[in-house]
Amino acid sequence: MVKRLIYLSVISLCCACTRELDVSYPNTPMGNFEALWNIIDTKYCFVEEKGVDWNNIHEEYRNKADTLQNDDERGLFKLLASMLDSLQDGHVNLYSSFDVSRNQTWYEGYPANFNSQLLYSEAYLSKNYMQAGGLQYQKIANGQIGLIRYSSFSDSFTAMNMLYVLQYFSKCKGLVIDVRSNGGGSMENAYKLASTFFTENTTVGYWQHKTGPEHNAFSALREMRIDTLDMPCKWLRPTIILCNRTSYSATNFFVNAMRYADNALIIGGRTGGGGGMPLSYELPNGWLVRFSSIKMYDAEKQSIESGIAPHKEITLVSEDKDDIIEYAIKTILDD
């Protein structure tokens, strides 16, 4: 009796250890192609807005995938990257161990409106700028204006960093925040920076995420609210935000939020957009695809995917001075 029970236990344990692996797509060129096509078809939030017939794309690329050899990784990458490129979305990337695909059409053809050599020249940040967390800062215009350069929302900063920066600028008439060519990063940093300029909790936009595989399956709109408590120290004097076409993603959201700040002006060029918060997912071969999945809107419920127009469009044309910063200085000093 006892022996039988022991045998039964051992058999039960061994049976429980064996299991079927649940893999939807095989790790072949065709399997990876189908997986990627399906991810975009069911999880990407702008299939309809982009005006791309995704079913046609499937037909177009399927035959090409079918001809690839199993070991032709670079050929497969090139094919899949080309398929993703048809979406013309800066938030759509394919990551492999040997390359990252990216689309650049969203900023091509726009003026650069940014010259780092000018920005770091003696007239502006200079080589002796100070840095608090991700914020580079310096007084300009004979100490009358504070200039903050924030080159990436991936670089974090704390309330204490901001407090020291604002204390340093305490006698300045205004503040210039340069987020040109800032490709985005953490939304938390965007909320935090924007909160510095709000004295009341303010709805600056909405977002909605997908709820199912259908192209138009979305959740109800939910508020994106600037909470004044995110940044305890406040700046209430004139503030000018500098942006350009490569101000993208979280920077796009920040610029949108600053449109609703009390004393802020946005100048430069139209931002690049990237108003779809990206998520990522894996293909059977382990490559990662990043894609827009959460739509973001401004407070008027208009999509911010195609970018934010500045209050005043200024183009950088001079070679010896930054026309956009000069305009900001003039605006603050004339105020």
Partner: protein
């Protein structure tokens, strides 16, 4: 430090309450004997994990953990005993292409009661037990490559059923105890995010992910086969532990499987409780 040590000892003494380990100085109060066993073990093994919130792929890797388990007979109803467990673990898993990595940090804690059929069976050394168990199972996961949703977790608070069979026998040089135990989910609540929720949203609306769970959407089994080698009042335990968990909600599938070798040691006490008369 010595002063703090005194306080700690006082707290432990209060925590133990009216229990005293046998062999301490005699007391004029009458005693009731209580069996108590504490098992401390480490485990190391393989782990397989599928978390469709993070990735559709089956990740595999290694896990290491330490756990403390105890059981003790009830004082009046001696056919019943209560059991408890606290376990922590860490794991590292890779996708099939070895291109992305997931880290896991687990915590399991639970308490239950069990009825021991040893007296009814009447076979020397044999015991079968069965009973309810309340359990919290948390496995936090970090998938650093994921954009805007790098975190996920298995989190369940459940009522479970557990059962086991153990057989003690005398060998040539020592006494042995062969033991098999199994535990399975019955009903509870669990946390399951929606695929499209970024961690910004999850941090603000975590309550949205709480779901009812029962055998229709969650199945789990945790089993252990071990042998104890007795050495005076302690015993060394070696064995194999297997855990399988799968659940589905919000159109997402999750699974976790672990097979580990365990090695541990147990202490067996006969506690004496003072039977105060009020």
């Amino acid at each position: 430090m010595i002063q703090y040590g005194k306080y700690i000892l006082t707290i432990i003494a209060i925590g133990l309450g009216i229990f005293t380990i046998q062999g301490k100085e005699p007391c004029s109060m009458p005693y009731v004997e209580i069996e108590h066993e504490n098992i401390l073990k480490v485990r190391y093994g393989g782990i397989w994990q599928n978390d469709e919130y993070l990735s559709p792929l089956l990740y595999s890797g290694q896990t290491i953990g330490i756990e403390n388990e105890w059981w003790q007979r009830f004082t009046k109803h001696t056919d019943w005993s209560h059991v408890g467990k606290l376990a922590v673990s860490g794991s590292m898993l890779l996708n099939p292409g070895y291109t992305n990595l997931t880290y896991g940090m687990g915590l399991q804690a639970g308490w239950g009661a069990q009825y021991n059929f040893s007296r009814l069976l009447g076979v020397k050394g044999l015991n079968i037990y069965l009973g309810p168990y309340a359990d919290i199972d948390l496995m936090g996961k970090l998938h650093g490559a994921n954009v805007n949703k790098p975190y996920s977790m298995d989190l369940g608070i459940e009522a479970k059923a557990h059962a086991g069979i153990e057989y003690c026998f005398q060998g040539k040089k020592s006494s042995y105890r062969l033991r098999y135990s199994v535990m399975t989910s019955v009903v509870g609540v669990m946390f399951v995010p929606e695929y499209w929720q970024s961690y910004y949203e999850l941090s603000q609306q975590a309550a949205d992910g709480i779901c009812f769970s029962s055998v229709h959407n969650k199945q789990s089994v945790r089993q252990e086969l071990s042998i104890d080698l007795q050495f005076k009042r302690s015993a060394w335990r070696i064995g194999v532990q297997h855990e399988y968990l799968q659940y589905e909600a919000n159109h997402l599938h999750f699974s976790r499987e672990q097979v580990s070798l365990i090695i541990g040691t147990s202490w067996y006490y006969e506690l004496k409780m003072k039977t105060y008369k009020w």
